[in-house]
Subunit: 431 residues, 2 copies
Amino acid sequence: MTLKVALLGAGTVGVEVARRILERPDELRDRIGDDLELTSVVVRDTSKERPGVPADLITADAHVAIQGADIVVELMGGIDPAHDLILSALNSGASVVTANKALLAKHFAELFEAADNAQVRLEHEAAVAGAIPIIRPVGDSLAGDRITRVMGIMNGTTNYILDKMDTEGWSFDEALKTAQELGYAEADPTADVEGHDAAAKVAILASLAFHTPVTIDDVYVEGITSVTAEMVETARAQGFTIKLLGICEKLDDLGKVSARVYPALLPNSHPLSSVSGAFNAVFVEAEAAGELMFYGQGAGGAPTASAVLGDIVSVARRKVLGGRGQYERRARTILPVASLGDITTRYQTTLDVADRPGVLQAVTEVFANQEVSIELVQQSQYDDLEDGDSRAKLVIATHSATESALAQTVKNLNDLDVVRTIHSVLRIEGQ
Amino acid sequence: MTLKVALLGAGTVGVEVARRILERPDELRDRIGDDLELTSVVVRDTSKERPGVPADLITADAHVAIQGADIVVELMGGIDPAHDLILSALNSGASVVTANKALLAKHFAELFEAADNAQVRLEHEAAVAGAIPIIRPVGDSLAGDRITRVMGIMNGTTNYILDKMDTEGWSFDEALKTAQELGYAEADPTADVEGHDAAAKVAILASLAFHTPVTIDDVYVEGITSVTAEMVETARAQGFTIKLLGICEKLDDLGKVSARVYPALLPNSHPLSSVSGAFNAVFVEAEAAGELMFYGQGAGGAPTASAVLGDIVSVARRKVLGGRGQYERRARTILPVASLGDITTRYQTTLDVADRPGVLQAVTEVFANQEVSIELVQQSQYDDLEDGDSRAKLVIATHSATESALAQTVKNLNDLDVVRTIHSVLRIEGQ
């Protein structure tokens, strides 16, 4: 028996996947127990050359390509037409491998229900954190444990930008420009720098880790466009690194899950703080397993192709062995997604205040009124301000508090006449 | 349908596994799609109390317990009777989950052949690096890639000892004693400190990563008993940390694999160098995926139970879905295991020499004669030696060389009359 593979999409990852299937049939047969045959590569522009992919495999007709395929590999990205094509492949009895995070973050439940009804498999290791095996560990290895929290650096572009702001002292704009020149950032960097890419990954991980439907619309998102060189510098001086974190956690006392993406302060001693450049890392906390970390390349043609090929081999092995598809990932419990106000974390606020007696008392009273407990206050004078004003800079770190208490605190600080400017309000994670 | 689970062994891990199966039947049914029923817990001493395990499940008769079980979980450890019991379980049609690294490192090929013939599954995530999901990533997630190298800290006891020698300046004996007091080391610490425990894990990982049979007898092993406080201090002064590393790699030009365990110098910038205390971490290099790292707790009741439960859920899901067991892990290629002399790495030698003109030339000539290229020589004088001798200390780091060339170099250095003492010869990895 030969397993027929149809590939939808031939960008960087698609070409790499095709090349590796074509170049080493013997090795793949050894891994699978049967032959893989790449039957078609579906592209929009059939005239464009795809190095290493024979011209007779190239076609623009996805529907014909799907007919008769045992495994459909979707690497087109985007919602349409990927959504319809995957459903059509599943319904025709093909198993599907996809790297499409945007699609999964929107239609996770529907797609897995379709796979389950058709008794075929749907795999998506490449959709989160590139080559890092994270889907299988979270979905399978830890299936007998209870995952309590997942926190990670899931976007290489923003990590590169924040890394350069930290190590080179660059501004956000400088770092973004260099990232674009190096091909780490798109011409339109919105999806990365506004946190949407990371949010899609958080939605997928939350759905898997907590067995409850979480879509990208449920994820609270703040990007890194408001992170300034000064904020990075202040953080560094205090032993912190600013990272864009994707977090999902189970709020057991509320019976809810939280899913969120925002830039936060991480202590330099935390393993995630030293993840540099375009690398990704995901920290998983489980009841019995304790803390686990997974680290590797989060993007790029070859790393992503590695994850896609792992899924292809896994699906193909199952085809060879028989059985009714994979265990459904259908949600068994429906846990409401917490609003941001529900979550509890620590905060650091940097603000300028009038430099006169009684100011510190007035400021700390605002925190106390919201029952936000202060852990540390650091006050420093400005030397020779050009405007002749007399101001002090306060850095205030709190103990754990709810977002809603903090939001009210910040609002009240803004209303306080001795407060000149609130430079930043950053969450502190990993401590 | 209810899936019957027989548990062989009720030590720390066994009791934890039993407790978790008994305490949350609903959650496990949600993960699996069917009920799990713990039918018996086999122990040697039936009179001993096992907290959380009902007395009517306890039995001393393993053969009766295996009869009728769908899943047999082997947590007894050791070769006999575990070997016979697992074979008997597989042949009776049960799938098996084991944490038994000693057994797998000796009988990997035979056990997987038996599982394959019986068309059932054999899982062993807990046998390597405790809770860290490493078997599934190496065996499945990277099955479509080509793994080139696996290097890791796979023994928590020795890592704790080396860590304390490094951070606290303790001697090996002091660190071992504390480890024993804290329960990190056994009363007889041989298996840990001589590297045998790590060697078993390396054999299993090599078999999986390179699809070729590697047993513990194929693994070259050096333990950490000869590592002195002075060696650790010298290493630290030069930006290195000494770690007990388990390494397996494919030597493509020789068509061989290498599997070895020894203490080596790691540059402080390497991610493995900061893995402290009883933690484990495994670094995997693959052709397409690049570098990956997996980090977590390598031992302990709860973390190991997490890995065992993940395997139980995985095997149970497959039972529910049907199909002919897992893809066989039978070796497809037989790659010879390289002798130590074949492998290539960098070395650092610390030695005392006579402090007189021409000595450095004589010493470096010994290296040159074996075509071992020197990267760095650091010479330092001793102040006021009590014996009135005039000696210098040399630290010599080489470029990559073969073990056999180095062994001959060290032998020739020993024969050189200007060489007083060779303090240490350590390999340098991760650079």
